[in-house]
């Protein structure tokens, strides 16, 4: 017996334009499939309506009244069922919510627009002849229930099928506040179903815009990660213009997708960066990053220290190669951007530090260094000497960026070449693009980067 995610994602082509396409459903699906695999939960997509008449039998009604039928028909031996709409994205590290339900009907209060709730509740009062407690009014887009609730849902189905015309009239002409949500609330309260409404609202983070959670802490400027990503566990993209949903969820997906990968590879990582040196001269090229990955991907018992943080793009690649990465920078704004790009990656420490002082960098010794901070000759020399002082026992490597770039010829290249000549370091591999390649008005006079070994 397993728990089930009953995921509602019916793509009704009639409304495709109104919803700006259905790509957002595919994004939602990927997050839930990942979450299900991680927690050994069955992913059950509800994608094809049972009744084709979607005026009489709206998808929201169908998910409620046919959920148990569909699971039984599929021969699934279920324990608890978590019904979620495709407007939801599960955060990669959302805890196993099934363990928090106390095996009760679990839902989350609807408090975003209480005026809407009030009107909806009043609208159905006469039909149900019942005084509903608004303090227990929940949102039906995210609910958890189990076998013990089967009868109550089947009776709810009968109620609907026996009164379908009345419900459609209330829904479309009289009340005009929602579909099955308010009737389901009435039905469960009237039947005294015991409910757990106490789980944190972050498991049903609705109306993100209304809550002002798309932004970040603009006062501290330390981390550009939006609040909803940091604090939410299940992000619900409602309360925004329907035709904006794909665009919004796509942006979020691009920011977090690296966390939904079982086995990381360089193509997926590069895809999550969105730019390389051809569009942003301050980062390294995709070729450079791929070469770093190929050389260091099995160094996952070692530590790397990166001198100079830009947007955290190279840091991200390093974080998947090494056990731990220290990225060092003087300008804190770079950390804010890098933290957002690397949200969910736990093995990066951001070290605010001015490398060009005589002060020692207070982090552990390391066997791999990436030098991409100050590009002036004395700065590069200073960095190389610091790496040599900080190198741990065994083979130690330094990765250099911008070695062959014409604009740094008199500085980076001279400093590195001089250190090679002085037998401080030796070349192991040329990486990135090679001599002659152009990056937007700049060109390479030698390789983009180098991997060197510290001579001991």
């Amino acid at each position: 017996m397993k728990n089930v995610i009953f995921w509602v994602g019916v793509k009704n082509q009639t409304y495709s334009e109104k919803y700006g396409g259905w790509e957002w459903m595919d994004i939602s699906r990927k997050t839930w499939e990942y979450w299900c695999e991680k927690h050994d939960v069955i992913f059950f997509p509800f994608e094809k309506p049972l009744d084709e008449d979607l005026v009489k039998y709206r998808i929201n009604w169908q998910k409620s009244i046919y959920c148990f039928d569909l699971l039984d028909e599929a021969g699934i031996d279920y324990d608890q069922i978590f019904l979620v709409d495709a407007t939801c994205m599960a955060k990669w590290d959302m805890p196993n919510v099934f363990e928090l339900t106390d095996n009760k009907f679990t839902a989350w209060r609807e408090t975003d627009n209480l005026n809407w709730v009030y009107d909806s509740v009043r609208g159905y009062e006469d039909f149900f002849c019942y005084e509903l407690d608004i303090q227990k009014y929940f949102s039906s887009g995210v609910i958890i229930f189990n076998k013990s609730h089967k009868d109550i849902f089947l009776e709810f189905k009968d109620l609907y099928l026996n009164n379908v015309d009345k419900f459609v009239e209330l829904q479309d002409k009289i009340v005009r506040k929602g579909t099955e949500q308010t009737p389901l609330n009435y039905w469960l309260q009237k039947n005294e179903v015991e409910m757990n409404l106490d789980l944190p609202f972050t498991y049903k983070l609705t109306h993100i815009h209304r809550k002002e959670m798309f932004g970040n802490n603009w006062q501290l400027k330390e981390d550009d990660t939006p609040y909803f990503i940091k604090y939410g566990k299940n992000w619900v993209f409602n309360g925004i213009n329907k035709d904006q949903r794909t665009n919004t969820m796509k942006q979020v997906w691009n920011l977090v997708k690296h966390n939904y990968v079982k086995e990381q590879n360089i193509d997926l990582l590069l895809d999550s960066l969105n730019e390389d040196k051809h569009t942003n001269p301050h980062t390294t090229s995709d070729k450079f990053k791929s070469d770093v990955w190929d050389f260091f991907k099995d160094f996952n018992d070692q530590v790397c220290i990166e001198f100079g943080t830009h947007k955290g793009q190279t840091t991200k690649i390093l974080s998947y190669c090494f056990k731990h990465v220290y990225t060092v920078n003087r300008n804190l704004q770079s950390f804010a951007t890098a933290k957002m790009l690397n949200i969910g990656i736990e093995n990066i420490t951001y070290v605010p530090f001015d490398l060009y002082t005589e002060q020692e960098l207070g982090v552990e010794k390391s066997n791999v260094f990436m030098i991409d901070a100050g590009h002036k000759y004395p700065e590069v020399i200073h960095d190389i000497d610091r790496c040599i002082r900080m190198s741990a026992d065994g083979d130690s490597y330094i990765i250099f960026d911008d070695y062959g770039l014409n604009t740094h010829e008199e500085n980076v290249k001279v400093a590195v070449d001089e250190s090679i000549d002085k037998n401080k370091i030796e070349i192991v591999k040329k990486i990135g693009y090679q001599k002659g390649h152009e990056f937007a008005h700049k060109f390479l006079k030698d390789s983009e980067g180098l991997i060197c070994r510290i001579v001991k």
């Binding site: 408090t111 209480l114 005026n115 303090q135 959670m213 006062q219 501290l220 609040y227």
Partner: protein, 246 residues
């Protein structure tokens, strides 16, 4: 032993109109206290100068000011109005430190948590869902020591706190109370929204139909947009008081 309702009603030199509607709050609480056999206590004299301590912080002196025997104390902001038919909320506390989660702008809430954490409480975590609004708090004798600790903290850090309050504008006593609740492991009882209905414009219930009065019990007139000189607070508190109390 009686339960007490405590309200701070101090004139604010920096925002002189702010306290204009407070009398409606006090009158509503007086009426409710009479009905529920509680004692209303209103602080109208400053303990510290406004430049050192604003009105909100004066709420923390409740235990130092009480000179009668009491059971529980409800500390209410002066921009709240209670419904005359509200049940006796003291019966819902389980004798715990009782509060309502802070609903509203989570940009403001997250900045409150993160900014105060950075400057004063680097080792304390506050789960977002546990962050409460300090506009309505019910406590009792066993929390006296807890309040003393916060007063001591203010004595030691008052000037820096004032600077932080002015620099960021993300709350005064509220973030500190929240951090102290976590730090001291205070057992909290979270009451539903209906007992401190904040930011009612955002939840779309502050309207001429008085929807808010049909949903819950304590109305907190905060977070009202374009509320220059507290004009809208005055407008809504007067209107609500007259609607409920005639």
């Amino acid at each position: 032993m009686k339960n007490i309702v405590f309200i701070v009603n101090l004139k604010d030199v920096k925002k002189p109109n702010r306290s204009n509607p407070y009398q409606y709050s006090i009158n509503s609480w007086k009426s409710w206290c009479d009905k529920n056999n509680c004692e209303l206590m209103v602080l109208e004299d400053r303990i510290y100068e406004e430049n050192f301590m604003n009105a909100n912080w004066h709420k923390l002196f409740i235990f130092k000011l009480l000179d009668i025997d009491y059971d529980q104390v409800l500390i209410a902001d002066a921009d709240t109005i209670i419904h005359p038919d509200a049940p006796n909320v003291f019966e819902q506390t389980d004798h715990k430190f009782s509060v309502v989660h802070n609903y509203g702008s989570y940009d403001w809430i997250c900045r409150s948590i993160e900014n105060y954490k950075k400057h004063f409480f680097p080792d304390i975590e506050i789960p977002l869902e546990k962050y409460f609004n300090s506009g309505i708090i019910i406590c009792n004798k066993k929390h006296e020591e807890f309040y003393d600790k916060i007063i001591d903290f203010y004595s030691d850090n008052g000037n820096n706190l004032v600077k932080l309050q002015e620099a960021y504008g993300v709350g005064t006593d509220q973030p500190i109370l929240n951090f102290f609740v976590q730090q001291e492991n205070i057992d909290c009882n979270y009451l539903p929204y209906e007992w401190n209905m904040q930011d009612m414009v955002r939840t779309e219930i502050l309207n001429d139909r008085f929807t808010f009065t049909k949903i819950g019990w304590i109305y907190h007139f905060n977070g009202i947009p374009n509320n220059q000189n507290s004009d809208l607070s005055y407008h809504w508190m007067k209107k609500t008081y007259e609607y409920l109390y005639g």
